[in-house]
């Protein structure tokens, strides 16, 4: 049921060791990658930044927090994920409580077109979020192939496993 994350994560949209001063900078970077590879429209970046302000996507996981910025399907051309690991943590609002800001080390910008078509992709993302060892390996990766290797181990990870 879950799909391999590498089917929707283009290596050209993987940014490692990013130094960013705020969440908007990270989102703009990842949105730019998704525009370059033709997955989202130019309106995507602004829409995601605006949504992040009103309904943030930081997930408090304990050690390594993850944010999953995304927006409405109208800004998306095809399903995709862009991923950044951050050299130093960047503050994102918590999805649970927008007034709370949490330090995030991994950002996955999601480009979604339709909920039913993307159940597998979303479950894979959720599985990855819930796999601390994979997140740790991802953060340690210094090259894109190494990051993809770290993610490959999640390919069989099922949210309901």
């Amino acid at each position: 049921m879950s799909v391999a994350i590498l089917d929707v994560l283009d290596p050209r949209a993987v940014c490692l060791g990013v130094e960013a001063s705020n969440s908007e900078a990270v989102i703009t970077l990842l949105a730019g990658k998704l525009v370059e590879i033709g997955k989202v429209r130019s309106s995507y970046a602004g829409a995601v930044v605006a949504r992040e302000q009103s309904m943030p996507t930081g997930l408090p996981l304990g050690e390594i927090n993850v944010a999953v910025p995304h927006t409405d399907p109208e800004h998306v051309i095809a399903p995709a994920i862009a991923l950044a690991t951050l050299k130093t943590p960047v503050l994102f609002g918590s999805m649970d409580d927008p007034d709370e800001r949490i330090p995030v080390r991994i950002v996955m910008a999601l480009a979604l077109t339709d909920k039913t078509a993307q159940i597998g992709m979303l479950q894979t993302v959720a599985g990855l979020i819930q796999a601390p060892a994979t997140l740790q390996a991802l953060l340690a990766a210094e090259t894109v192939p190494a990051a993809l290797d770290a993610l490959r181990t999640t390919a069989e990870c099922d949210l309901h496993g």
Binding site: L61, H70, L110, K115, I119, V125
Partner: protein
Amino acid sequence: MARKKTVLVACGTGVATSTVVAVAIEETMKERGIPVVIRQCKATEVRSLIGDVDLVVATTPVPNDLGKPVVKGLSFLTGIGKAQTLDEIERILRA
């Protein structure tokens, strides 16, 4: 047979995190023998869709004056406290 309970699952866009939550609730309640109808929506749409809903599960904040039980769904994404959340949902749906 008991009336199917309706669960409204909300997130910011109505397509992303609510999908993960909806699938998890549907599968688990099926396993536990509780027939449910799941609807998904944006957090901003909850109030207009609350009518015949038995329970709201939301990954983002929703109004606290809906007159229906609301359960936080973040644990379906983080995995932290997921079992307790499912038990709470079961308890409310069996009530």
